[in-house]
Symmetry: C2
Amino acid sequence: MVRTIAITLSYDGSGFAGFARQPGQRTVQGAIEDALAMIMRQPIDAVGAGRTDAGVHALGQVMSFSADTEFNARSLIRSLNAIAGPGLVVTEAREVRHGFSARFDAVSREYRYRIVPGVVAPAFLAGFGWWVKTPMDLAAMREAAAMLIGEHDFRSFCVADSAAGKSTIRALELMTVEPAVELGEHCIIVRIVGNAFLHSMVRILIGSLVEVGLGKRDPVWIEDALAAQERCAAGVTAPAHGLTLWHVNYPTEYWL
Amino acid sequence: MVRTIAITLSYDGSGFAGFARQPGQRTVQGAIEDALAMIMRQPIDAVGAGRTDAGVHALGQVMSFSADTEFNARSLIRSLNAIAGPGLVVTEAREVRHGFSARFDAVSREYRYRIVPGVVAPAFLAGFGWWVKTPMDLAAMREAAAMLIGEHDFRSFCVADSAAGKSTIRALELMTVEPAVELGEHCIIVRIVGNAFLHSMVRILIGSLVEVGLGKRDPVWIEDALAAQERCAAGVTAPAHGLTLWHVNYPTEYWL
């Protein structure tokens, strides 16, 4: 019987050349599709909620696929974790309505970006946060973040080529900037929730917010950057290793 | 002028063959002494507050040394961090009273041990916690921990050879077992504060606590293990990579 199955997975982005399958490279999609093909003895095409770039981590990435198979969540999780290799773990598996797509049926996605401020580099968070040596003004960053909430044309905040001829209107629900301590080291966590994201959008938003935090730009500059509708108007692209695809939300009617 | 200097450092234990200098191996003491010798153009012997085993991390290790040198904290920190290499950062430097020893003048040491419970391995905490698949009873672990507080002969809780002919009486001030979330993953943090620790004592205490948590032993077994005064009476040695030397306390009269 052909079933559609959704799996949730976490991975340390440092071990992968990105999400999307590429010949001769270790990718998340490649590792999962290969493991599924081995388990189910049929070729599998699996789609992901977010095509994370090389180096970007995921705590709650979701992938979906259809296969002619029996379904037992525990045994599928165990088999995938035995095969898919280091730095990647499958945490959940469930059967979903036929036709479900982890990519197209997602209603919102949460990303979290970790910035590690301080004159000295972090010892433990080095692989999980962007080390920024100069002190940042969190209030200014929050002021800029508030201007990004809502529906906007984010053309300035994506890789220029990727937007050609497509709608670049997206809606941000939430963008918060909070201090935290993880593994004993101080950091700043930026949470971003939106319906969907353009290529590199989160990293360009963060890079722009950091420029505001450093005092290189005034918070209201963010509005000018949005209005300009060209990549060069926004800030730098923040490094991949500070970013984690945290969670993806779906309408519950898909769960069987 | 000969000065005595104390530095505080953090390191990811995975990059070191332990703390103590060993020929042909990368060790914390070796990396720091070599960097100091290069900066100060004289051989330096530096002593550490805790001789962490291979794989054990430190957030707030303290080392002290004497040298005929000028002292500028910022420039010493910068030079050490430029030389001492990846996975090791010096966060503080201060001049202290002559004769100060990071090892012998410490009044207490705090260690934290991270356990990662769950049927699925962690993706981010893999290098920073002991993955335990079977659910644990935290209340039982706390009951056992409470029996360890105070002054006891911890001979059962150290590497047998290391205790020959020496006092194995130590005082534990605090031992707490609390759930936490770090890097998005659930974990259990055991905090241990004591005046001093025997070789592998924290890891054997944790291994014993986990046996209680798993229901293999009753909490009161801990008292029998203490009373037995032999290594085989206590639990397994927990893996090194879950352990972090968190903080070392000194009487403030040493600071200049």
